[in-house]
């Protein structure tokens, strides 16, 4: 028996570890470093209908135990992803979760419709929480009604289960979570980045050309943990948790508050081998806690 396996809507995961969207490109670069088939799944970079070049640079800035990014959804567009990126990933025995982004409902729907037909795309991740684009993105993620409607529209066309990625930049994340569940979401992924800013000390200007950026990394973990804890108590769909995960202990924390799997973002930049390392270390950590199967960890904070 595989102690790490988890079954989620559309996804048979060997283990609960997957790189987070935007932090792993379309897998090629990390594929040069290790065998991607080890991963539970891969969340690929956001795909939009058209090719996007993203924001001007600088696009990243370091902060205390975190970083800001404003990449701006640079990606080769739906056609590029379908023709080049996804087929390349087929050589690996790993389910792909396609991160879908857009400016208006129609874009999302069109991308979802097509990309969900790719043979290795086993689920969609609806990005209603990107803080780094002028239109669309986060605006869908801060209003429950809009979040609900977009989810329903995408759900209607998708060939695979739909996970909705929530923004932490809201007063009440439970309300958004319930709205997307009602809209038909099969799961939730959370959290996307917190909106932040850093200045250049000399000039007083923002370092990020886009002025603000999304905060990620260990700094945000307490916020992410709190939100997963809250949301997991009000929805009946599974959660893929993320925000500052850097090691096996962090994974155990996210599962404990109710996530069913965990994504690793920023930590890939700090340690490119972090995902396989975590997968390797999990069993020993579970032994230390007397945990037989990884699913036994899910929601233990609520049960205690």
């Amino acid at each position: 028996m595989n102690r790490l396996s988890i079954e989620l809507p559309g996804l048979q995961l060997k283990n609960p570890i997957m790189p987070a969207s935007g932090c792993f490109g379309f897998g090629k670069e990390y594929g040069n470093l290790y065998d991607l088939s080890q991963l539970g799944a891969i969340m690929i970079k956001a795909t939009t209908l058209e090719t996007r070049f993203g924001n001007p640079t600088p696009r990243v800035a370091e902060t205390a135990a975190g970083m800001l990014n404003a990449i701006g959804l640079q990606n080769p567009g739906l056609q590029g992803v379908m023709e080049a990126e996804l087929p390349w990933l087929e050589q690996f025995d790993v389910p792909i979760i396609a991160n879908v982004a857009g400016t208006e409902t129609a874009d999302y729907v069109e991308v979802a419709k097509t990309i969900s037909t790719a043979p290795n795309v086993k689920a969609l991740e609806l990005n209603i929480s990107c803080p780094n684009v002028k239109c669309g993105g986060i605006t869908f993620g801060t209003d429950p009604q809009q979040a609900h409607d977009l989810t329903a529209a995408v759900k209607a066309v998708s060939e695979v289960p739909v996970y909705v990625k929530l923004s932490p930049n809201v007063t009440d994340i439970k309300a958004i979570a319930k709205a997307v569940e009602e809209g038909g979401a099969d799961g939730i992924t959370m959290i996307n980045t917190l909106v932040g800013m850093r200045l250049d000390q000399k000039t007083g200007r923002p370092i990020i050309a886009n002025v603000t950026g999304g905060l990620s990394g260990p700094a945000v973990k307490p916020v992410a943990i709190r939100m997963v804890y809250e949301v997991s108590q009000v929805v009946n769909i599974p959660i893929i948790g993320m925000g500052g995960v850097s090691n096996a202990e962090d994974v155990i924390d996210f599962l404990s508050v109710g996530a069913s799997a965990v994504a690793v973002g920023t930590a890939n930049f700090v340690d490119p081998f972090v995902c396989p390392t975590i997968i390797e270390e999990l069993p020993a950590k579970m032994d230390a806690l007397g945990i037989e199967h990884i699913t036994d960890l899910i929601g233990r904070s609520h049960r205690l």
Binding site: G22, C23, F24, G25, K28, E29, Y30, N32, L33, K45, T51, F53, G54, T57, P58, R59, V60, A61, E62, T63, A64, A65, G66, M67, N69, I71, Q74, I207, G217, P218, A219, S246, T266, N268, F269, V270, D271, P272, F273
Partner: protein
């Protein structure tokens, strides 16, 4: 192949005001393929500072499995790096990127190497390799002032070396272009690394010449996955943005819009 190597500090010394030279050993050295490649250095085990720092490889010695990096200890990360002592471990990811093409200059030809400030280090290994294959190297090195200048002697041993300092405290007063203007040497290629305005001036001065420029950009992953480090190309098509970390940091002159 890119390795994540726990390299060991063999020596570290200050070679100019705020400028440190660190010698590191580890199996990563065996993977370096060209001068101008860089490494991505984690300065501490802590999450603060979080990100790795990109630093050029300044010279390599395959026999002793050693490489040298030269950096300015200015911000939070590099200041911490400067505190490492002999025997300490440093987590280094590399070698990364595509360096300067040594093949583009034939033995017997002349190459001009123009470096500015903390862009000077990768030119040292480049010059060593060019000189070794019989290329005549002329070095033009620009610094703010004499107290932050370094490696004059090292470069002199490889070929003619001209220094420019902004405040005139060493060599010619002014920028590297002041030196370049008075250089009437024929040359086949030029190679340059330094701040953007310098690269721009060099490229403009040597329009039509075969040249290679090394760029800087703030980085996330350092390996091409995060799209943080892009720069715009002059060719506004599909490849409107290329990545400094994995497509570069060295590009032929004219490719990047500056």
């Amino acid at each position: 192949m890119i390795l994540q190597d726990k390299m060991i500090v063999k020596a570290q010394r200050q070679i100019a005001q705020g400028i440190f030279e660190m010698r590191l050993t580890g199996k990563l050295v065996g993977e370096i393929t060209s001068p101008g490649q860089f490494v991505h250095v984690r300065v501490a085990d802590s999450f603060e500072p979080l990100l790795r720092r990109p630093i050029s490889i300044a010279s390599i010695c395959n026999e002793s499995n050693e490489m040298t990096i030269i950096y300015r200890a200015e911000g939070r990360g590099t200041t911490m790096l400067a505190k490492k002592r002999e025997g300490d471990e440093v987590d280094v990811l590399g070698p990364l990127g595509n360096g300067f093409p040594v093949d583009e200059t034939a033995p017997g030809e002349t190459a001009i190497l123009i470096g500015g400030g903390i862009g000077v280090p990768p030119l040292y290994e480049l010059s060593k390799q060019l000189t070794a294959k019989g290329v005549k190297c002329v070095h033009v090195l620009g610094f703010q002032s004499a107290d932050v200048a370094f490696y004059e002697e090292e470069f002199k041993q490889l070929g003619d070396t001209y220094i420019a300092t902004v405040d005139g405290s060493l060599g010619t007063g002014g920028f590297v272009t002041s030196v370049m203007e008075n250089l009437d040497e024929e040359f086949a290629t030029y190679y340059s690394c330094g701040p953007m305005p310098m690269l721009n001036a060099v490229q403009t001065a040597y329009t039509g010449k075969k040249g290679f420029l090394s760029f800087e950009q703030r980085m996330g992953c350092g390996i091409g996955a995060c799209f943080a480090c892009v720069c715009q190309t002059t060719d506004q098509t599909d490849k409107a943005y290329i990545k400094v970390c994995s497509d570069g940091p060295v590009f032929p002159a004219g490719v990047v819009s500056i």
